[in-house]
Subunit: 229 residues, 2 copies
């Protein structure tokens, strides 16, 4: 018998690719990740396989598979015999992650200057301009998402998949922190200034400058976020 779904899990079909049938545990991974980021599953809380399974409308088997996957990403910790716990990130964890992210984005910037096509750089420019519109309107959430998109795009056009992979892992760990770390107007302006310089260095293909500003951008991110933890 299929499990009763209080809130059935809908599978996202807008996947690109030829006929890639979406798998259930993959959908669960995405869903649980979002629940962690949005705070539905607060850090430190134990995950109850039975209840969560019912809530998502799936049985424990694919749910457990998804939990193992997320544990490998570092969003969960597994204590044998006691199930999965949402990982707590200490301020040091966050700081350390941002240091690494800054380093990785610096590298990505250098590689992007070297390997990106003009068209790709133009696409990033478009994202940037749209983000600036959102800033002009003080539209926080769309701004936030475009911001993330820009950083991800720089990773993409660096044409280094391994780099994008590890960046994505650390990025996912911090998404919740950034999500709650809504800074005040003066700091927001600083971040916007950074982004102006990022796009200008990228368009000039000035790898040293881009690398430096991306790295420094992370340092400032820490300054913005550290009091919110």
């Amino acid at each position: 018998m299929k499990p009763e779904a209080a809130n059935p899990l809908t599978i996202d079909l807008e996947d690109r690719g030829p006929i890639a049938r979406p798998s259930l545990h993959e959908a669960i991974v995405a869903r649980v990740r979002d629940m962690i980021i949005e705070g539905n599953l607060p850090p430190g809380s134990r995950i109850h396989e039975g209840n969560l399974g019912i809530e998502l409308g799936v049985s424990r088997t694919p749910l457990r598979e998804a939990l193992k996957f997320l544990a490998s990403e570092g969003l969960l910790e597994l204590s044998p015999g006691r199930g999965a716990v949402v990982r707590q990130f200490s301020p040091k964890d966050v700081r350390d992650s941002l240091v690494v992210l800054g380093d990785l984005e610096g590298l990505a910037g250098r590689l992007a200057c070297e390997h990106a096509t003009d068209a790709e750089i133009q696409e990033v420019r478009k994202l940037h301009d749209r983000m600036m519109d959102m800033y002009a309107n003080r539209d926080r959430l769309p701004y936030f998402k475009l911001n993330q998109n820009i950083h991800t795009a720089i990773l993409r056009i660096s044409k280094n998949e391994a780099l994008a992979d590890v960046h994505g892992i650390l990025q996912a760990r911090l998404r919740r922190i950034r999500y709650i770390g809504n800074e005040g107007p003066e700091k927001w302006a600083g971040a916007v200034a950074d982004h102006e310089e990022i796009i200008s260095a990228l368009e000039a293909r000035d790898s040293e400058r881009l690398s430096k500003v991306l790295n420094a951008h992370m340092e400032k991110t820490w300054e913005r976020v550290k009091n919110a933890i």
Copy 2:
């Protein structure tokens, strides 16, 4: 009924930690990872859940959980409906990973110079000296393992867990490549020379020099390995 084990999976008990009971899927993860590194599961081959389960003496459920975990590490690829396939790394994948590893180790070197205690540096020196003994005896396998230990130790004494995490993931992906990439004597000598400079820069806490030599060391590793793929 417990499944018949042609070659029962023994659980490694030498785990550190207070009373951390080893969990089965954890043991399976380690075991399958080793099978991939050692080539028992060649790249590109599909993993047959039934057979492998019988071979390891476990049922499909924990095995599948382990496969999801390894997929998240990037050692396997999951094609829905077709199970897990051992990931093939293209030469570009390897090169890209080494570029990132070089960058990460460079960062780790800087941080280690800053944060490591004298005692920790001395421990790395000991590893280095033991490795040199192995080199003198042309003892390849112990040399290989000590080599890995030294690099891991530098990551550890950099006191940045996020850094160690992502380094570990990329390192695991390349372990198989390094395992088969047994270079000739002249290149081996070059690697040894690098290591002499690494330890000397670390003892001098010369972060710039250490960072540079670690980064360059990876570049040379590529030169050594690229023809073996």
